[in-house]
């Protein structure tokens, strides 16, 4: 008597679970699936409205990717993004690693408040800062130069990474350094020789996060950079490839996909650590 309803309930629950997951995966991943299909379809297949758009009526083509690589500055934009990303990551680590460590080891209420204050600056949006920045960058003679982005991007990577690293360093027991200091190392020596080697995971997280933020940034890029050879990839594709009435849909979708998927895969490996950074304070 009781067994059948219990089984029905279990089945219904499993079915509901699957239905929920299918719905969300479809909603969230569909645009990328659609980019993939579009990238490899011939133009006439894409623009024939009587064709079923889900199917390939012509064999898959590499034409759009060829256009992207041969006739646009896509590779240059990727190189620009990598250039800015690497330098910003270096600046971020140089500033945020010592700062995060200092905040983790300082005592007293004001050190705690300072940590929170630094994090809050991450919430000050580019939307408020980009107008004065456009003048500052002009005054420094950096308009249209990738160095303008190198200068400005740490303004959002440093606050978040400092906060993230502070959490990591707090988790390292003070005893470890104190033991090293008793053995004759200075505080600085203990930091370099004891703390840094065991916090590579934390620093790698900061690296990935800073680099991801650089590739995603759009507002400053579109404000400071005006010539197409200096674009980063997140600015170049929407401003340059969309210009005019002719949309190269296949090439644009390929451009989006090629950048997005590798970042997503790397980010996915570190996502739990980012969540710790975002929620520090709310989960204890």
């Amino acid at each position: 008597m009781t067994r059948a309803p219990a089984r029905d309930y279990r089945l219904a629950k499993a079915g509901g679970h699957t239905a929920v997951l299918v719905f969300f995966v479809t909603f969230l991943a569909f645009p990328f699936y659609w980019m993939l299909i579009t990238t490899f379809k011939t133009t006439q297949d894409l623009y024939n409205t009587s064709n079923n758009p889900y199917l390939f009526h012509d064999p898959p083509t590499l034409h759009h990717l060829q256009v992207l690589f041969d006739n646009t500055q896509y590779l240059q934009w990727i190189a620009n993004t990598a250039f800015v990303g690497v330098i910003v990551v270096a600046i971020t680590l140089a500033l945020a690693v010592p700062a995060g460590y200092a905040l983790a080891r300082m005592t007293g209420a004001w050190a705690q408040n300072l940590g929170i204050a630094i994090f809050l600056t991450y919430l000050v949006p580019p939307t408020i800062l980009f107008i004065p920045f456009s003048r500052i960058i002009g005054d420094l003679g950096l308009q249209d130069s990738l160095w303008s982005l190198v200068l400005v991007y740490p303004s959002f990577t440093v606050p978040f990474c400092t906060w993230l690293l502070m959490g990591f360093f707090k988790a390292i027991p003070r005893d470890l350094e104190e033991a090293a200091m008793i053995d004759g190392l200075s505080r600085f020596g203990a930091f370099v020789k004891v703390v840094i080697p065991i916090s590579t995971a934390g620093m790698l997280t900061a690296v990935i996060f800073a680099f991801t933020l650089v590739t995603q940034e759009f507002v400053y890029g579109v404000t400071f950079i005006t010539s197409s050879s200096s674009y980063t990839v997140s600015v170049g594709v929407p401003t340059f490839l969309v210009r005019g009435d002719v949309y190269f849909w296949g090439s644009m979708m390929g451009a989006c996909l090629i950048v997005s998927v590798p970042i997503a895969i790397v980010y996915n490996l570190f996502v739990d650590r980012f969540v710790v950074g975002f929620t520090a304070g709310a989960i204890k």
């Binding site: 700062a99 000050v124 949006p125 939307t127 456009s134 929407p238």
Partner: protein
């Protein structure tokens, strides 16, 4: 403990080494010194531009002129007198409120579905995290193609499935209400992964014995959900909401790529209008004044965030 400053008898040449020795010996000073560069960078690159933004909003700054004159609240008066301001303010509120209500509701459902173990979970997680990780200016172009006026896959699918009348062919980005619905959809799509993983972390941090106690007390699925699980997720849900509000209220990328504020400013938000006025229009003062209307909400969010941070310290 307080140390006396470098003693007056020290000869000038030895000041430098004595500072170094002091740093190496005195922990508190060393920590302050290594903290300083980050603070200085943040003050220079966030603090100063922020103050400049305040000053610009009270001046007649333009791209064309190097001279600035203080004109008081004139820009704010001009902005508030503009019809576009009220449209953009209303749109910003709708854009933020509707998208964040949907994000929080959907994120809870998705997080609860993801907390149990099932085959292929890593793949599902990878797929659902994509929208948050992919550069939004690029994925918005994907949506531009999905919403295309002629080749929209949504329209084709809905018609093929018999959901749309054969004569109904909505122009998603060209009709005011549909355009607003479209940019809200894209914003929900983009913010949902972050909210989901934050809430998932909150769910995972609930001790298992609480769940066991609820089950052994005979709570069913829904009762367990509404009386045990969801109340315990509230704090972390608030954090997800705060980030969502900040990232949505100040965002201009989705609007810029998809509609450029159109048709007829019906999807113009404060952030995109500030961009069009300040950067494209060259009216730095006007743009700064518009963007400062975002500030009250940011301050409110920060205060709530601070309360949470404090509470977590006490606990």
């Amino acid at each position: 403990m307080k140390r006396s400053p470098i003693s007056a008898t020290t000869v000038p040449g030895s000041i430098f080494p004595s500072i170094l020795t002091r740093l190496a010996d005195d922990d508190r000073w060393l920590l302050r010194v290594i903290l300083a560069p980050a603070i200085i960078y943040i003050v220079l690159l966030v603090g100063i531009p922020f103050l400049m933004s305040l000053y610009y909003s009270l001046s007649d700054a333009t791209v064309a002129s190097r001279e600035l004159h203080f004109i008081g609240l004139e820009n704010f008066r001009r902005v508030v007198a503009s019809h576009t301001f009220w449209v953009a303010l209303g749109n910003t509120v709708i854009f933020t409120t509707v998208s964040q209500v949907l994000v929080i509701a959907l994120a809870n459902i998705l997080a609860i579905a993801l907390i149990s173990d099932f085959r292929g979970k890593w793949l599902v997680r990878l797929l659902i995290i994509l929208p948050w990780v992919a550069p939004i200016s690029l994925s918005s172009i994907g949506w531009l193609w999905i919403f295309d006026s002629i080749y929209s896959i949504i329209n084709w699918t809905a018609r093929a499935a018999g959901l749309f009348d054969p004569h109904y062919w909505p122009i998603w980005l060209g009709q005011p209400r549909l355009a607003m619905a479209s940019i809200i959809t894209v914003q929900v799509w983009r913010m949902l992964p972050l909210a989901t993983i934050i809430i998932l972390a909150g769910l995972a941090s609930i001790p298992q014995d609480i769940h066991d106690a609820a089950v052994s007390d005979g709570a069913g699925f829904w009762r367990h959900l509404f009386e045990i699980t969801l109340p315990l997720v509230v704090p972390v849900g608030v954090v997800a909401l705060l980030f969502g509000i900040v990232f949505t209220f100040t965002d201009l990328i989705v609007v810029l790529v998809l509609t450029r504020g159109g048709p007829y400013d019906t999807t113009q938000v404060l952030a995109s209008w500030a961009y069009f006025t300040g950067i494209q229009g060259g009216d730095l003062a006007g743009g700064a004044a518009i963007s400062l209307f975002l500030l009250p909400v940011l301050v409110a969010v920060s205060i709530v965030f601070l309360r949470f941070a404090r509470r977590a310290e006490v606990a």
